[in-house]
């Protein structure tokens, strides 16, 4: 069902937690009846320097959350904001069709965190 990369990130997720002094926080998912992610980013000079997540969800959601923290660290805010939905799925070695929404949720978390960062720092763009 899942690739070994998914299983690895699920079993030993990277960057679980919160960043109390986060520069951007992104919440995504369905808090009533589905998976949710809270993604915390530290951003310095327009580049993501740290990321942590908390996710309630299935194995794919946790793995995608873990993977997205690894992916985002070191990228510029612009790069991060333009993340594609399937970037994470590909990095995970693929996801079953019914689980693609999990990688989408992780990507949504990144976009929301960058938006939050920009709004706090007065750099919101029209998008």
């Amino acid at each position: 069902m899942y690739s070994s990369t998914v299983m690895d990130h699920f079993h030993a997720p990277r960057n679980v937690g919160d960043l109390p002094d986060a520069d951007g926080v992104g919440n995504a998912g369905n808090p009533i009846s589905g998976n949710t992610i809270a993604l915390h980013l530290k951003i310095a000079d327009g580049t993501v320097t740290d990321a942590k997540f908390r996710t309630f969800g299935c194995a794919a959601s946790i793995a995608a959350s873990s993977m997205v923290t690894e992916w985002v660290i070191g990228r510029t805010a612009d790069e991060a904001a333009s993340i594609e939905n399937d970037t994470i799925a590909e990095a995970l070695g693929g996801l079953p069709p019914t689980k693609m929404h999990c990688s989408a949720m992780a990507a949504d978390g990144v976009r929301a965190a960058i938006k939050d960062y920009r709004s706090r720092h007065g750099t919101v763009r029209k998008d």
């Binding site: 070994s4 808090p31 309630f56």
Partner: protein, 402 residues
């Protein structure tokens, strides 16, 4: 990073299988009974030569064995391809045969998907279906049935015991009320067979569904009890097999296996009840003590002996199952999920659980090969897994992300 499929198809060395409500292995007595029918005694039970007559005799013996399990006459038992087909046949077969008498059906909001989706199909075809609401333990009150019956009601379908939470319904009382009104009463006893007494007379059942693979028999075979005189339209038309109730060449191997499984299930029911209850009760007690904030779903007493459904708020069900699986423990979220999509169980929502709590629930279902050692093994891994997943979701710290 590679994308080799994981887990590998090879099973882990040591496994603790606690998913007997999903399916059971074929027990060796059953396998031994079936084996000759693959190659030597392979005749078509409808053929007149002796290969056929030999198969026919075996099928009729199995029919008597299944009849014995539910206190029916052999002529009232018909073999099908499984519990799903039996449920479909009971519901759609009655609807089709009796539609001139009325188009109203009564069922509950915690039925197995085979009943639920047969009813949903009939709604699309113009039938009216009343879904009775269970209480917080998953029980129906017979009075609810009484109140819902109308002059147009042709069928009441209420399961004997629930596959997810194990709650057992008062079908005897319900059957009495329903049959007194001349309405047909169907009960799905797929999960009850071999664990509880299943007696079509005591239940007042006109139709009753059974499945082979839940009682250590083979998959792909089931049975339906149809009380003598009750008419249903077949769902499989063809060569008039099974007294014209269910056409298709008889699955001799499967039928023989189901027969043997039924006989053994009847014989061992009482000792099995004790064995399963003991393990389930021990696991329940330890989970309540050793893991915080859990909630047990289903009726505390009127419940299948081997079934334990627990909500672990803050941990999500599939993650729990995958983590337990990595530890060699096989359990499920309730109903085996075929779509892969995550949706809160309709049964747990029916009990009043909020969707996130419903999503964080696990069903442990014991079987005849389990031991108290399995309870110990589960408790050596489960608390750690729950707290790790709560840590990932932060719910344990009250920080459920929104």
């Amino acid at each position: 990073m590679d994308s080799t499929p994981f887990p590998e198809t090879a099973l882990p060395m040591a496994s603790t299988y606690l998913d007997h409500n999903a399916t059971t292995p074929v027990r060796s007595e059953v396998f031994d009974a079936m084996e000759p029918f693959f190659r030597d005694r392979f005749g078509n039970a409808s053929s007149i030569h002796r290969f056929g007559q030999d198969a026919r005799a075996a099928v009729e013996e199995a029919r008597a064995q299944v009849a014995g399990l539910v206190n029916a006459r052999p002529g009232e038992i018909y073999f099908t391809s499984g519990g799903t087909e039996s449920d479909n046949l009971a519901i759609k077969g009655t609807a089709c045969a009796r539609k001139a008498d009325g188009r109203h059906i009564i069922t509950t909001n915690i039925e197995h998907s085979a009943v639920m989706n047969s009813c949903a199909f009939l709604e699309r075809e113009g039938f009216e279906v009343t879904y009775l609401l269970v209480d917080e333990n998953g029980r129906i009150d017979p009075g609810q049935v009484e109140d819902a019956l109308t002059d147009r009601t042709i069928l009441v379908s209420i399961m004997h015991s629930n596959n997810e939470i194990g709650t057992v319904q008062p079908v005897g009382e319900i059957g009495g009320i329903v049959r007194a009104r001349g309405v047909c009463f169907h009960t799905d006893a797929v999960q009850s067979a071999g664990k509880l007494a299943v007696d079509v007379e005591a239940m007042g059942a006109d139709l009753l569904s059974l499945s082979g693979h839940k009682i250590y028999g083979p998959k792909g075979v089931g049975a339906i009890y149809i009380r003598k005189g009750v008419e249903i339209e077949p769902t499989a038309h063809g060569g008039h097999h099974e007294n014209d109730v269910r056409s298709g060449t008889e699955n001799t191997v499967g039928i023989v296996g189901m027969g043997m499984a039924a006989e053994l299930a009847a014989e061992e029911r009482e000792s099995e009840f004790r064995h399963l209850s003991e393990m389930r009760d021990a696991l329940e007690a330890r989970i309540r003590v050793e893991i915080e904030g859990v909630r047990v779903n289903g009726h505390p007493q009127r419940r299948l002996p081997g079934t334990l459904n627990v909500s672990f708020p803050g941990a999500e069900g599939e993650s729990l199952i995958m983590s337990l699986d990595l530890a060699g423990i096989a359990v499920s979220t309730g109903s085996a999920c075929t779509s892969g999509a995550i949706e809160p169980s309709h049964v747990l929502l029916a009990l009043g659980r909020d969707p996130r709590t419903a999503l964080g629930s696990v069903r442990f279902s014991f079987g005849r090969d389990n031991t108290m050692g399995d309870v110990d093994y589960v408790m050596s891994r489960l608390p750690g897994i729950v707290s790790r997943l709560r840590e990932v979701s932060a719910a344990s710290a009250g920080q459920v992300p929104v």
